[in-house]
Symmetry: C2
Subunit: 379 residues, 2 copies
């Protein structure tokens, strides 16, 4: 069993951010799995999405079961094989799982950041990750990979540090958010910001948490992670506890199973996720748009990339639909980049990128087998 | 110009409801357009969806422009021609536009209903509408019509009162809600119910309105009324007021046009719509499911219908997708009912049923021309 241990890397030098602000005196939480080979050529960086962290795989001492968010993907003998690769998971700046975020003290002011935490972008995260690699003595990544927002980071790596990335694996991602994507993010943010317990982002000081808003945000999110198909299959119109098969005729009680599921997801999330982090991370999603500086021309935007690519999308993903991955594919082909693209016919919607679809896992495995042949193994 | 005037019909006798409760001493707001012909055979009942009312068409005295929600459909020379048909718009029980609703006094208790307003179903509304027709001296409808939730009422009319309906026009509707539909309703309800200003539904007494919740509910609703396509076309990733084309880098300020649009829609809605009504009407949507009493067999459920049908759906409507209309079509064909079905290729999503798509309006016009030929005109 893969044993994981969180580590923390402090950074004193200020990191300039795309907003024009900068952040100094921060730390990044990260984990590594496997061993770096002699020529330091087998490192794989895994970038996380909205509510995940540096804990990608493995168990912490004393745990029976992994809570790593991509434990089905990363580990000994798994598609990203930690017997061959040195895998790094890193928690992004502004997140709430160990790296410096809004709940921490700003060393410049001695006050908790709260709403004053600087807005961070995908590009900023990539810069911060690059500094972490510097600190770990890794110049070039065998691969950078991620799903959803993590895929945006992987893509951005190939543009910001083209010489440092040999392969990029971009799963269930998009070259930017659509208006509808932004709309869902905005509703979630408004639910949080207008919760009276939000206190303009300084709820820490008031000893409260904007749980109502977080619950609503998470419920909305969950609807968009699943497909209509899988929701109908898992929940359909099932009642939670039908009394003699009849409705309760209530507007506030739980009547349908899907309501119970969503409320449960919302309640759980509100217990562990930070509201300011939610705002920051959804905004990073909104802002990501590499083609923006090129008048919307994605082909020109992706011209700097030197990596080879694996792109994967899922047929029922309506949050980051296959058509969005195909936009990236087309722009990379226009630039004559090496790439493989798999569109997996899976019923699970956006969530599929975290699940055990055998075809999907085999595609990734085969791709990493190819990478492994070209780098010296750890063994 | 069609002049509209709201009327009110009081009902003393208690109306039994599907929940087992009943409601007495209520009134229905309604409007009529055109003239009932001599043999009372040219009446058309128009059923409304979530946030509409009895004010279907025409102007009130002193208005320049109609605020009727289906003024493009109903009026002199329009698809439902009020020179030929006697059209009735009725506000449903529990709504907030004139018929008895949660903001009114319960005559049994002398207290405002508030959260105590009984849960009403599509079937209950149809029963109440049938009583209104009785009071107006109308036995048989030339047609009943509606879009979305209004279409559910039209469909239910053909099952509850098969002998009283000659034609049913069911637009952008569904035989029941999917799990995803229910999920969106539930998130909206939770946003309202968990707003501290909701006070368990008795906010009237506290002199407040759960505006935060209503805003969130409406924003969610609006996302589902539009298609991804039309959102991208109307808003895309446009910034609202780009300072030298750059982002503001803010999590709370409006950055994108789509955010501005949604906030505006939410603000407007919270000014005029009642929160308890929102809960009631979304629940009526959730509960509608004529096949439920037949183990999910829609064909058996629709067997009582005697009407002829026009069904219309819109290609980009993902709230009530064409596939849902086709389920109704199939079940009606199994029952050898007369029907026409039009699937309109329109970019506007669910909202299309309210808009001026010429092909759609022509389909409805042609259908009503056929009805007009079979009934004596008003002239």
């Amino acid at each position: 069993m893969l044993i994981a241990e969180p580590q923390f890397m402090p950074f004193d030098a200020a990191l300039p951010l795309r907003s024009g602000a900068s952040i100094g005196g921060y730390r990044l939480a990260y984990e590594t799995y496997g061993r770096l080979n002699a020529d330091r050529s087998n490192a794989v960086l895994v970038c996380h999405a909205l509510n995940a962290s540096h804990h990608v795989a493995g168990v912490y001492a004393g745990q029976d079961r992994s809570q790593g968010w991509w434990d089905n993907m990363v580990g000994p003998g798994k598609p990203v094989d930690t017997d061959r690769f040195f895998v790094i998971g890193v928690n992004n700046l502004g997140s709430c799982f160990g790296s410096t975020g809004p709940m921490h003290v700003n060393p410049d002011t001695g006050q908790v950041y709260g709403a004053g935490f600087p807005v961070v972008t995908v590009e900023d995260w990539v810069d911060a990750q690059a500094r972490l690699l510097d600190a770990l003595g890794i110049d070039t990544l065998a691969a950078v990979m991620g799903g959803s927002l993590g895929g945006m980071q992987a893509l951005s790596w190939t543009l910001q540090y083209p010489q440092r990335v040999r392969h990029a694996v971009v799963v269930a991602s998009a070259p930017n958010l659509t208006a509808e994507n932004i709309a869902f993010n905005e509703v979630a943010r408004r639910a949080i910001v207008t919760d009276p317990d939000f206190h303009g982002g300084d709820y820490y000081r008031h000893g409260v948490i904007p749980r109502r808003g977080l619950r609503i945000a998470r419920m909305i999110g969950h609807i968009t992670y699943l497909s209509d198909d899988v929701m109908n299959e898992k929940f359909g119109r099932q009642l939670r506890d039908a009394v003699q098969g009849d409705y309760k005729y209530s507007t506030q009680e739980v009547e349908f199973q899907i309501e119970s599921y969503l409320r449960h997801q919302g309640d759980k999330f509100a217990e562990y996720f930070d509201a300011n982090t939610y705002l920051l991370i959804t905004r990073a999603l909104d802002y990501f748009d590499p083609a923006r500086a090129f008048g919307g021309d994605l082909t020109r935007a992706l011209a700097p990339a030197r990596a080879s690519f694996l792109l994967v999308s899922f047929s029922t993903d309506w949050r980051f639909a296959p058509a969005r991955s195909r936009e990236i594919v087309r722009a990379l082909l226009d630039n004559r980049r090496d790439l493989s693209y798999a569109e997996i016919d899976a019923p699970h919607g956006h969530d599929a990128f975290l699940l055990d679809d055998p075809r999907y896992l085999e595609v990734v495995r085969a791709y990493f087998d190819g990478i492994a042949r070209s780098v010296g193994g750890a063994r």
